[in-house]
Amino acid sequence: MKAFRSLTGRVAVLDRSDVDTDQIVAKQALGRIDRTGFGQFLFYDWRFDFDGTPRPEFELNNPAFAGARILLAGRNFGCGSSREHAPWALQDYGFDVVIAPSFGDIFRSNCGKIGLVTIELDAAEVKRLMELVDLDRGSDMEVDLEAKTITDPRGRVIPFEYDEATRHRLLNGLDEIGLALQHEDEIAAYEASHPGPVATTAIR
C-alpha cells in the first residue's frame, strides 16, 4: 500500500446522505477480476444517462470539481455492502480523501486497507466546508494525516480524530498481512491448542 502523509487538492461536494455502495460503484464493475480500472464505474448510474452521455445535473460532473482528490459527502456515506470495489472506484477515479459526518462501518474499514483516507467531522462542520467550496471556480483544501488537520479554503485549520493503528499503517505504507505474519508463532500455537469445531470443509 502506498503511504499517505498529506495532500493539497481540489474538493468535490456530494451533499447526499446514505449514499450506498451500490451507487458508488456500478454493477458492471463487480464482474471484473482485475484490481484496476474501477474509476470509470464510479457513480456510473448518476454520472451517465442510459446511452452513456454525462448528466450535467449530477454534482461530480461540475467542471469545477475536475481532478478532485478530496470528496465532501453526506452522513452514512458508503452504507450498504462490503464490496471493496466501492473504495477501489473512488481511489481509481482520483480521490484520496473522503470527509463526511459518518460512514458505513465496513466501507470505512475497507478504505483503511487500501490507503483511502476517511475523515469523520461534525455534521455542521461538513456543511460549513461544503458552503465554502466555490461551485464555479472550484476550491482546494489541505489534508494532513500526520498533524491530523484539515486546512479549509479560507485557511482555517480544523483538527480531526483518526484511528491510531490505521494512521500508523497509512503514514508508513505498511502491509497489514506482513504485520500479522510477524505473529505466526502465536497463530500456530493457537491452532495447536484449538483444533477447531469442524475437521474440514471438504465434506464428503
Partner: protein
C-alpha cells in the same frame, strides 16, 4: 464478571493483543464466492503466499450464475467463475461449483451443511455474513483486502465493536413473519442506527422463532448499519444442527452441546445499548423508498417528505420518491407491481418457499406480473420439489429457477428493466439494486406471493385468511 455471548466468542478467539491496537482474531470458517475473491487470490500470488487453512475455507458460486439452467453467456461472469475454480484448485480450497448438487447462496449452504456452528468466528466477503449469527456465531462481512488477509493468515485484525441488545417482545400475529419483524426494527432504528455495534437479538419472540426465521433477522442486521447480528443458541439451534453433514455426531456432539450451552449471555451481562421492540401490533411491512429503513405497514401510505423532522431526511425522502415514482399520500395497497422476486439469502429457504406456496396454492399470478421463485441452494430446491412446492409455483404461473443470488443484486441475467416495479423478498432496495432504473419494494415471502396474485400490494391476511 458476567459476559455476553459476543464477549465469550471474542475472548476465546484472540490470538494476539496489544493495548490500543486492534486484536488479531482467529477465524474458524471463511466462506468465499466468485465476486469478492479474485483480487485476493491474485494478491496471494503476487506476494508468494499460500492459503494457510484451506480446510477452514469453503467456496461456492452464487452471485453471477444464471438461474435458468443455461450456460454462463456473460463473458465477465464466465471469467469470474473460471477464476474461482482455478484459484480453488491452485490453492487447494474446497468448492461447491454449479452442478455439484450442493451449490447455492453462500449464506444458505453454510448452515444447511452444518458448517455454521455455535461459538464460531465466521467471515465472508459478502455483507450478509451476519446471517450465520443466528447460530450464536460471531459472523461478519469483510472486504477483499481482508479476504486476502484471512486466506494468508486465518486471522483478522479487529477492533471490538460496541454491543447492542435488541429485545423483541410481544406476540407475533398470524401472518406476520420474521421479515416483517426485522423491517419494522430497521424502520425504528434507522439505517445507521446500528453503526459501530454488534446486535444481539433476544426476547420471547426470538426464542419462539425457527432457525430459518432467526437467519432472516440476523441477515438484515447489516441494513441497520450494524457490524453483525447474533442470537444465543438454544435447543432449537441444537435440534437444527443434528444430522447435518459437517455437524458433530455421537460423543463429539455431546461435548459440543456442553460448549454450546455455555455460550448464552450471562445473567447481568452489560450491553452498551439496549433497545426494546414490541411486535404486538406489527403489520406486514412494505418499503416505499430506496433504503430498507424507508418502510411502512401495508395499510399505511407513502409518506410526505415534510413528515420528517430532519432536513437531510426530507431531502433523502424526496429523492427516493422521485426515483420510486411515487406520490406522497398514496396508499401502499394502490401501488401496482410488474415483477415479483422470491429468493435471496434473506428469504429463500424451505420455510420461506412453503409460506409463499401456501398463498399461491390454487391461485393464479396476475397476468401483468412476472414472478421468479429462486431457491437458495440446490438442497433447498430438491427439498421443495420433494414437497411438491415447485408444482404449486408453476401452476400459479411462476418461474421455478435454479439456486443462486438471482435478482437480489442484478449481476446475472435476472434483472429489472428500467421503470419496472418489483415486490422482492431480498434485503436491499437501493437505487438500481435489481437493475438500473428498477424499483424495489422489500416484503416478506407471503406478502410477495399475495402481491403476485393481486398485481398490487395487499395485506396477505385479506387475500388468504387461512393460508397466511
Amino acid at each position: 464478571m458476567p459476559r455476553t455471548l459476543f464477549e465469550k466468542i471474542w475472548e476465546s478467539h484472540v490470538v494476539h493483543e496489544e493495548p490500543g491496537e486492534p486484536a488479531l482474531l482467529y477465524v474458524d470458517l471463511h466462506l468465499v464466492h466468485e465476486v469478492t475473491s479474485p483480487q485476493a487470490f491474485d494478491g496471494l500470488r503476487l506476494a508468494g503466499r499460500r492459503v494457510r487453512r484451506p480446510d477452514r475455507t469453503l467456496a461456492t458460486m452464487d452471485h453471477n450464475v444464471p438461474t435458468d439452467g443455461g450456460p454462463v453467456t456473460d463473458p465477465l461472469a464466465r471469467a469470474q467463475l473460471e477464476a474461482l475454480a482455478r484459484n480453488c484448485s491452485d490453492f487447494g480450497v474446497p468448492i461447491y461449483a454449479t452442478g455439484s448438487g450442493r451449490e447455492g447462496i453462500v449464506h444458505v449452504i453454510g448452515p444447511e451443511l452444518g458448517l455454521t456452528q455455535p461459538g464460531m468466528t465466521i467471515v465472508c466477503g459478502d455483507s450478509h455474513a451476519s446471517t450465520h449469527g443466528a447460530f450464536g456465531a460471531l459472523a461478519f462481512p469483510i472486504g477483499t483486502s481482508e479476504v486476502e488477509h484471512v486466506l494468508a493468515t486465518q486471522c483478522l485484525p479487529q477492533r471490538k465493536p460496541k454491543t447492542m441488545k435488541i429485545e423483541i417482545t410481544g406476540r407475533l400475529r398470524l401472518g406476520i413473519t420474521p421479515k416483517d419483524v426485522i423491517l419494522g426494527t430497521i424502520g425504528r432504528l434507522g439505517v445507521s442506527g446500528g453503526v459501530g455495534h454488534l446486535i444481539e437479538y433476544a426476547g420471547e419472540v426470538v426464542r419462539g422463532l425457527s432457525m430459518e426465521g432467526r437467519m432472516t433477522i440476523c441477515n438484515m442486521s447489516i441494513e441497520a448499519g450494524a457490524r453483525a447480528g447474533m442470537i444465543a443458541p438454544d435447543d432449537t439451534t441444537f435440534a437444527y444442527m443434528e444430522g447435518r453433514p459437517a455437524a458433530p455426531r455421537g460423543s463429539a456432539r455431546e461435548q459440543a452441546l456442553d460448549r454450546w450451552r455455555a455460550l448464552a449471555s450471562d445473567e447481568g451481562a452489560v450491553y452498551e445499548r439496549v433497545v426494546e421492540i414490541d411486535v404486538d401490533g406489527l403489520q406486514p411491512q412494505v418499503t416505499w423508498g430506496t433504503t430498507p429503513g424507508m418502510v411502512v405497514p401495508v395499510d399505511g401510505r407513502v409518506p410526505d417528505p415534510s413528515d420528517f423532522d430532519d432536513v437531510d431526511e426530507q431531502a433523502a425522502a424526496a429523492r427516493a420518491l422521485e426515483y420510486m415514482a411515487l406520490e406522497p399520500g398514496t396508499p401502499i395497497a394502490d401501488i401496482r407491481i410488474d415483477r415479483v422476486f422470491i429468493g435471496s439469502c434473506t428469504n429463500s429457504r424451505i420455510e420461506d418457499l412453503r409460506l409463499a406456496a401456501a398463498v399461491l396454492d390454487g391461485k393464479k399470478v396476475n397476468p401483468r406480473v412476472r414472478v421468479l421463485v429462486v431457491p437458495g441452494s440446490a438442497t433447498v430446491k430438491r427439498q421443495a420439489e420433494e414437497e411438491g412446492l415447485d408444482r404449486i409455483f408453476k401452476e400459479a404461473g411462476c418461474e421455478w429457477r435454479e439456486a443462486g443470488c438471482s435478482m437480489c443484486l442484478g449481476m446475472n441475467p435476472d434483472v429489472l428493466m428500467p421503470g419496472e416495479r418489483c415486490a422482492s423478498t431480498s434485503n436491499r432496495n437501493f437505487e438500481g439494486r435489481q437493475g438500473r432504473g428498477g424499483r424495489t419494494h422489500l416484503v416478506s415471502p407471503p406478502m410477495a406471493a399475495a402481491a403476485a396474485v393481486a398485481g398490487h400490494f395487499v395485506d396477505v391476511r385479506e387475500l388468504d385468511p387461512i393460508g397466511a
